[in-house]
Symmetry: D3
Subunit: 259 residues, 6 copies
């Protein structure tokens, strides 16, 4: 059920139930390669939550947080960046507010890796107050379900996922090949900041726009995305999540460490 | 069009167009009296933006911001409070990001009065950089269109508005009469913090939960809400907004005051 | 009595008395139209406190806070702006310090509407710790005492008030008529950010200096101010405040919500 | 002249004059030993500014800042502590606002040593933007004018100064002898945090209330204060300041270092 | 050469040289499993810098930063945690200060993964001002040089590294086997927050002390550490770094994006 | 013993011992006149701690903090400035982390006067939680041991101290005479911001680089430094510190004031 659809008396009852699992979808509004929509990172978690909602009991879904830490992407038009410090505060405020009303089990369904440090920092505070928090990065699960579903930013995996529920948002007419520009000819660009030098990884921190023309990087190029992949992957990830969240819900709450 | 649905190349084009008007729906997730859903304050702006989208050209709609300044409401379960300082930062980040990409005309469609100081502070910064920002509080417009549509928090006006597009979210089975407890018998409680003493207004700052049992306060009680009111009001407000936003779009941009 | 005039042993005794009411005069140093002095917003609260001091028992008056949130006025010479975040911290520090020493009843006598969000945020914290705080905006009381005493920024009401106790500070030789420039011909400018479009209010956030030549706006123009008005109004407001503050003092303290 | 007494047009003229010297009186509301009033630290700078106002041209006096960094004193009733970080922001806001309007020469007349780091930090920013700022701690000047006027916190020097203009605020009926409790018998307590061990100074950071019963420390005890001392000292310090501020006003402005 | 060993005139010359590469060793003071010293994370970068210093020209080595983001480790005695926000500020201050003096090429030699988000955020700011920054996490390089040198926190890899230059700090007498406690029997604990559920990774955020008795986790247990491994690995990593840093130094500086 | 050299189990034991004294060496990386190395302010405390370590039991030495508040020095190349607010946070984090693990007695061995306000603020928090903290500024002790060892910034005293343990870092080939430029001919420059006017002290806040060519100021010029002085002074200060720290260790802990 959607938190936003309850009134406060209903929320009171749900939040007082120790089995309730609060699910917080989080993403980012940022460039997603040549064909992915700017909302990719929050549209997918929103869709996953919609699916979970139909299949699990006692799930309380918070409004999706559509902005995150997109500092490296800000040079691409349409990107919105909260910055790391503000994202820590936003995540903390959401956790704290619900904790105050009784929530003790939280699952963050996240669509953007740049949010991890902010979520983990805020989550650890919750743990110390006697809660359990899990951070579910869907893109990391998919390749374990099927090695043909590799991850990357603004690449085929995300485009395929969006195709599963909103195919019109993946605009093949904009498709161009990625042109990657590593810091120099001595390096191979692997991911956003990560390069290989003689086969070993190191980070060279740059604007992504100086690194890859489309903004997409790290996985299979978007041209390999198909709706079939997306449908199978979203189904697979949802199934996994249902099983996972039930297992997570059964973890004992920790003792309070401090306030 | 939805910003989240564009890819960055489309956003680049739209944001470079000096006639583009960026619309930012903002609200809060907080108690809304005995029958209103927690999402009232952002669901209504989201619905208004949906309607505007179908009727105006060159409108770029940002993802809805579902959280705001709800400090006075936090004692009611389900309420999420970002706090004033964090809300200033969130609004600033959204404005700044889009400004960087060329946006110069912004309309904030707001569903929650407590957000005003944060929005206005962030907006003034934009003005100083050569932009125009308008803050549209829909609830204040309605009573001018029809005096039978008075405003208030968690009251009939908001319930009626939600009935227009999601009647199932207004739960009449929870309806109870408001019991208002002023600070003492010497006072008449007018609105959240505002009381009358001998007919003159003054503020006594309290938790709303100590003031009114349902949380709704300031207007007509929720029991007077009807779907007919809501439909007429949402239509009326939308019509007004269409005319207003076209007029706003034609305002000259200010000179830059400073960076 | 003035807090600043006591030694700490006297303050200890006064602050331990549960009937003591702490009065905090707050204002702003900012433009006040063509004839009003920059200190208008704190000189009036200071004068009101002086009058209250002579008429009420167990009133502990804090030093006047002469600066506030004047962000919209900063383009007018002589204006000093603390900004919203710093004002929240200043108000919080004053409340917290006195709370620590036993104060539980606070009345903020405020001369500047822009301070309200900061005062209310800090005040709510105090309420949660078991205190009562009232925010008294004198300018809103006057029109209820006499409809001929309408309010506005840098206008006749404030000028009249200053004339009551420091007539030499209202400089009629600088008097010019207000020339108001709304955002465009489609709008009627009502107050600092508020305009009317087809009779309904909306905010267009601008520098005041771009809106009105003198800076005064919202009420009766300063040329209508008279000393007689000011004297009667200050007397009337003081009388009302004496009765009000005694009523406020009798409100029960809330239970502590949290620390 | 008082900034608060000017209207903005007058302020505009004064602040545009390169010879104008802005004077900012700053203090603290905090315990001042057994007989000194809580306002000692700002009442004295306010009085000094009043005297300077009558003797110098082109002096623009800001409203007195009655609160400062009083963290070590907060355990004494009546003390108000802004804390170091907030005081940095307050000082910065006052400087910045006036700088924006043209002020380039600032003299801070300070009554409280704990404010120094905040003032100096904010002042250095001004210097870098092409201004000159002086910090005048009156209590350090007096002993150079007359070695019989030694300094200390909440001691005879400050009591004498207050006696010069408000003798009724120094309450001899509360006079008790200081009982100083050093950290242990191995130490001699010299000043607030400073102790001597084998004749060499080191700091042991404690609450002042645990160090000295009255809160006064560091100089001659308050019982030695006389009105004659105060009158002669205030006259002497004022005379010195008049000469000093004229010399300060003639210092060349620095080139801008950065913004 | 060590920055701290130069005087400012020497530093001026070195920092003005466009070929100068500033090296900043960073770590953490935190638990390192059963046998690793608390300083592991900064002692290793310090040692690597010492070695680089002897082999490369125009290397300017900043003082080692011995504290970092150790929030997850704070329950283990001796751990010092700056927290993410303060670490961002510290890294920013170091970069900014040296940038002001002319530095444009920076290599952060980091010993603690938790510092990455802070370093990357501060580094991106530098890039935008026309600098190049690399973040070198030595532990990630080693396994690429030799697959028998796998990484992990507080495990054999770090213990071996310390054995190479300070074998007395690795205290085998404290060696106990790791006892790992996953959130529940449904999970396999992989790394600090990362667990596997049905083979796919997800994060469950907990205090490390609740996860593993020794604090060491993620790689080969410390009992497998040998001095030989350490010596070979430190030599190999140093050699790689020498080649890498020379390649990094030759990367073109970016154009300034913004200030 | 060095905290960084212990493992966490050893640290647990040491920090649980109520007699343990935690020693925190702190300094700054900043200009030190014509011949002093940039690390002067932290190299000396580090050396003093090394000496104490060999002579006292139950001394737990934290890693040296090599950066501090150097805002006034930032115009000299090689200077690194954390700024006052960040230094408060760093000191607070170090104290808090160790307090959490049981430490209650702290001695900060400081090499830089600009750090005092940050250290004292953080230290007072510790006192309020039941700890004792001392701030030992070595340069102020030396002149009391021998009046021929006068203090000053970047002058002979510091150069002599460094000569005692690292004579090669004091580079006589760079020696030039100080040329001091007071704000105007009316003033005598005494120390960084302090000038004399007619014999009385006042502060004029300027960049040091505009005040003295070398950056050294306030004491005896560096040319008078000798290794003999340094050796005798470091020995004398160490001896004094040994006696002092034992006396400090015997001070009773305060009761907790608040958390």
């Amino acid at each position: 059920m959607q938190l936003a659809h309850l009134n406060w008396q209903e929320a009171e009852k749900v939040l007082a139930d120790p089995e309730t699992l609060v699910v917080i979808p989080v993403g980012s509004t940022e460039q997603h390669g040549s064909v992915g929509p700017l909302g990719t990172d929050w549209l997918i978690p929103q869709e996953l939550c919609r699916r979970l909602d139909g299949r699990m009991e006692k799930l309380l879904i918070a409004p999706v947080i559509p902005f995150g830490v997109a500092t490296h992407h800000i040079n691409f038009p349409g990107t919105i960046d909260l910055g790391l410090e503000t994202m820590i505060k936003v995540m903390g405020a959401v956790f704290e507010s619900l904790y105050r009303h009784g929530a003790r089990r939280f699952a963050v369904i996240n669509g953007h890796g740049g949010n991890d440090p902010a979520i983990e920092k805020a989550a650890l505070e919750m743990y110390r107050r006697g809660s359990q928090v899990t951070l579910v990065n869907w893109w990391g699960i998919a390749p374990k379900l099927n090695p043909d579903w590799p991850t990357g930013h603004g690449d085929a995996q995300e485009a395929a996922a969006v195709m599963a529920f909103a195919p019109e948002l993946v605009k093949s007419e904009w498709l161009v090949d990625n042109v990657v520009t590593p810091p120099s000819a001595d390096f191979k660009q692997l991911h956003i900041n990560t390069v290989l030098f003689e086969g070993a990884p190191v980070k060279v921190i740059r604007e992504i726009r100086d690194t890859v023309n489309t903004g997409g990087l790290g996985g299979l190029e978007s041209k390999f995305a198909t709706r079939e992949w997306g449908v199978a992957m979203m189904d697979g990830v949802t199934d996994w999540m249902v099983r996972y969240l039930e297992a997570f819900r059964r973890i004992d709450l920790p003792k309070k460490h401090w306030d």
